[in-house]
Symmetry: C2
Subunit: 633 residues, 2 copies
């Protein structure tokens, strides 16, 4: 169905009005680009910035997505602002492109006016002020540079970070304008001194640098690491960089990485050094991209699973890998960047969100925070799909979490022709009379990535190529349509489905799905499905009571929800109740970076989460066996 | 005069009774050694240990010295215990050698029973306890190793030093006996969290190591550095090592060292690295000598002047060397050893005593503490003689301090044939008809050290070789006794007094005193004398009201008090009112190491000291000119 989309670039100038006819379901951003209307999309249309914002002038305003809420805030959302990359055209509408944002109008997950709203004001805890410090002129004085500074700022001398002292005398004497003092005021309720409570001076710079105030949100995953640079006054994302976790060369999944470090301090040190080194590369990259100096970064919030957290701090994770999987520490830690050797302001506060258990880490806490799982009366599920995923189930009443270690199969690892979701990866598969594929970047097919695998299996199940136990039914090939039949074969002992022959979709070599590949995907999806099932079981609630299932994690964003339900990766909920929430762990880190109140909430959430250990539960085995199989249609 | 000394090595066995006849004024220790009685003197008879203690059985018990009080404590002193190295024989006495010490009977500067006593109980703030930590057994647990430990010890998880976490999981699981937890409880009243207030876990060790509890008292002087290893339960000195400060290669006196570092971060780093490196050498040496492991050292107290303090912390001292000589910080700092890269327990607390001003440092505070200057109703003076000395004047009412930079002349530097007080140095000089000398170790004379110089000048003044302005009176040589006359000469433009000709006192080459040497000593003694005079002037008290003058510093111990008065280094007080108090700065550090109450007192003393800046005072010039001259007899 075609619908009308009217785009205004300047409402006061009729000449800027463009009327387009677009296919229903197209995003406004794509429709605009296809129609030749220039809409800026700094983040590439991923809902990570505000540059592609539009304001609805006519037509029904769609409900906001979580990215709308996070990037635009409640006030703008209520005023009809939306991100054009997140919003699809379903009926005739008129929108204005990039209406100006009022300064300081930003809010994160902005609240309605009532009690229990989600109102979050930006308050990163970092304040800068230009201070004139009076220095002694008489030799008989009894004071010091530090005491004069502390008095001018209104803190005790002990509250000034030791690295600040190194350049202090020069800074105080260099510029008649004064010095710019940066303080951090912790909003964390837990912990005492060590957790960074109170007001701390984290930097003193000559002259007026009050305009420069930046922070980092860092998501350290087993497979990939994402660092985002954010302006702390406006909340604006300035740059974001993501890389593979370089620890992976010492073990792809958590258990092999723990085994590498286990009772081996030298290997532990290697893992620690790798991740710190990568974070410093990230700092250099986001600073280069944005023109921000590293010394202007005064706060960082880090989330990650328990093992990543321990390795970052150089703490032995050996016993995280041994029953009963006890973490070494769990509380929210705040430490100066110099102690981590992180090359930002030496006294910048690095805040690690708290952990829950050996396999339910700060990333799960961040997901719970970003999805507001603990705030709503409705029962909701959040699934962070990843090598070491987590499942959360809860509402305002109770919160449950378990680990769901999918392993790397959905990242394309341990799959014959698997690959990551990069250029040339088959990411969409449709099967009717034959196989049809889409590749990322629409370039020649090189392999198949996780979302492609899930589509493929869903299609093969529907077509009857695979049965509910996962067997590739070579014996039944003759009942298949001819084009499919020719793709099913025994090769020696191995059952194989040929997805692409050389030349198909530009593939240079054939791309196949083996029986083993199917088993790997079954293990992966079984881990997640059994996690969801177990939490429902422990919480004693039927699936129908789940009002929403949120897919988090980078991978979740590319998944076909229908295919995921078809293979039983997620339970058979109505499609309308399932939505993508992006990298919720990273978003949780961003929330805590921009709001100390949110960081305090993360503490409260961590202490509320009830950890469910799957393997220790007597009913787990049956649940897992069921979850490994595909739903019988 | 000869007197009788009876020594009992075992009072129950008459055969151990030895009766000696000794010259009055001999120390009991020397008399015993001369008489062939074996008395242990671990510290070499310097009042630094308790091994040579005796108990008076018959005869008058002499008043205790400060070393008696510090080493033996008030209880033992009252019972008639004395250090035989500190106590001279003046009348017939009977003493018992090395009577056993009751366990835990030690006190430092022990108090009388009344109000205002000096009672100090050993309480280093370091406690060790054997703890059994219960670990989770169920996978459903929601705890961590750290939380279990913290609960068992009774602290918050945030109070556990981060380095402790590194080995924690292994330690908790290794030994069924449990773990030994070391905590530090600060007694400091000043400062908040950053100063280490509250109870902190500084180490966790597998098994029972409760018996191992050690600390370091460190005195970082401009010229020399003294590190003492002390058992924290008994207060016993186990080892002590002293070295030249290796920063001296970059500048002998403070000002040249500051100039080296001034506005030059690389040079600052060199000075910082040198001193940290030396302290780590000292740690290795005292540990080797005592068999103590560095990881059992949980506390260190550091004193030093402001510049040494800043350099140790890596803080730029540039402005300490520029009027108005402002220090960068002054408050008592407590930091973990790892931050200083000091190779003891990583979380050991390194306590730096507070500073007063740019040239009145933590060493002056330590001297004031150790001498109880601020406690007594009597007005007393403490003089720390050193390259960068300090003078303190005070009583319970007020406390004044100034710097008295004698320069290195009294250490033998900038003197033609000067040398340090080492083997072969002329350390005693008597002048009657001719010159008579004593050398350290009674080995051939190599040069002349500070105490020898002062004796020499005193003798030359008495003999009329030098006049009150310091001139070597070549013109008046004919009025001298013949032997002296032949030693006075002009050599070219230079006035010279020949102390030793080759062959005299084993000297291989001649040792002379030049006119310039006299001027150097005048500058040095003038600095100290004018400091004393200025404090009296500012406090508006006449000299006669000074009830005691205490000579502190390594050098002070070897000085002839009569000679020092003769040349005007110290004012003309009756000899009975002048006494040596040893390295009082180091003793002050030891007090604070062994007692957190003392460390808190150091804070209070620092805030009470009134800093007097000499050069800034209008009357200084006249006072200094007077002080440069010798007293007219």
């Amino acid at each position: 169905m075609a619908v009308s989309l009217v785009i205004l670039t300047d409402p006061g100038d009729a000449r800027t009005r463009r009327e387009l006819t677009v296919a229903a379901g197209t995003s406004i951003l794509k429709a605009a680009h296809d129609g030749g209307v220039d809409v800026t999309a700094t983040c590439g249309g991923r809902g990570r910035c505000t540059s592609c914002r539009v304001k609805f002038v006519e037509g029904t305003i769609p409900p906001p997505t979580i990215m709308d809420e996070i990037q635009l805030g409640d006030d703008l959302v209520r005023e009809g602002y939306r991100l054009s990359c997140q919003c699809t055209v379903t009926e005739p509408i008129t929108v204005q492109v990039a209406p100006p944002l009022e300064e300081r109008a930003f809010q994160i997950l902005g609240a309605g006016p009532g009690v229990g709203g989600l109102g979050v004001r930006i308050d990163a805890g970092i304040a800068k002020e230009l201070v004139k410090v009076s220095l002694p002129r008489e030799e008989h004085h009894q004071t010091s540079d530090l005491e004069q500074l502390a008095a001018a700022v209104g803190v005790a001398p002990e509250s000034v970070g030791p690295s600040v002292l190194v350049g202090l005398p020069q800074a105080l004497r260099d510029d008649p304008a004064g010095v710019t003092v940066t303080t951090f005021t912790s909003g964390s309720t837990s912990g005492g001194a060590a957790a960074g409570a109170g007001r701390t001076v984290v930097a003193v710079e000559r002259g007026d640098t009050t305009a420069m105030k930046f922070g980092l949100a860092i998501d350290v995953g087993t497979t990939s690491v994402v660092t985002t640079l954010i302006e702390l006054e406006s909340g604006e994302q300035l740059a974001s960089v993501s890389s593979l976790n370089p620890q992976a060369v010492f073990g792809g999944d958590l258990m092999s990485r723990i085994a590498f470090a286990q009772f081996n301090p030298i290997n532990l040190r290697k893992l620690h050094t790798r991740i710190v080194g990568l974070l410093n590369q990230h700092v250099a990259e986001v600073c280069r991209a944005s023109g921000v100096l590293p010394k202007w970064i005064y706060k960082a919030v880090v989330v990650g699973n328990t093992c990543m957290h321990h390795l970052l701090l150089g703490i032995d994770p050996s016993h995280v890998g041994l029953a009963p999987y006890a973490p070494v520490m769990r509380h929210a830690a705040v430490l100066p960047a110099r102690e981590l050797l992180l090359k930002i302001a030496p006294e910048a506060r690095v805040c690690l969100l708290p952990l829950v258990a050996g396999f339910v880490g700060a990333d799960a806490v961040a997901v719970a925070l970003a999805t507001r799982l603990a705030d709503s009366p409705a029962l909701r599920v959040a699934v962070d799909i990843g090598t070491n995923g987590e499942v959360l189930l809860g509402s305002r009443e109770r919160l449950f979490a378990c680990s769901a270690p999918a392993g790397p199969a959905l990242e394309g690892a341990q799959i014959r022709h698997g690959m990551r979701g990069a250029q040339g990866a088959v990411d969409r598969v449709t099967i009717d009379a034959d196989v049809r594929v889409h590749t990322i970047g629409e370039t020649p097919a090189l392999g198949i990535c996780g979302s492609g695998l899930i589509d493929l299996l869903a299609g093969l199940l529907d077509a009857g190529v695979i049965d509910w136990t996962g067997l590739i039914r070579v014996e039944a090939r003759d009942s298949l349509p001819p084009a499919l039949r020719d793709r099913v074969a025994m090769r020696g002992e191995e059952r194989v489905f040929t997805v692409l022959r050389p030349g198909e979709a530009g593939a240079r070599a054939e791309i196949v799905l083996t029986q083993d590949d199917v088993r790997q995907v079954q293990l992966a999806k079984g881990a997640i499905a059994s996690g969801i099932a177990m939490l429902l079981h422990v919480a004693a609630v039927p699936l129908v009571r789940v009002e929403e299932l949120m897919l988090a994690g980078g991978f979740g964003n590319y998944l076909s929800i229908a295919s995921a339900i078809r293979i039983g990766l997620i339970p058979a909920l109505p499609l309308s109740r399932v939505r993508y929430v992006g990298n919720a762990a990273s978003l949780g880190a961003q929330l805590c970076l921009l709001s100390e109140a949110e960081r305090a909430r993360a503490d409260a959430i961590a202490s509320r989460i009830e950890h469910v250990s799957l393997a220790a539960h007597p009913d787990f085995e049956q649940i897992f066996v069921d979850a490994m199989n595909f739903p019988r249609d």
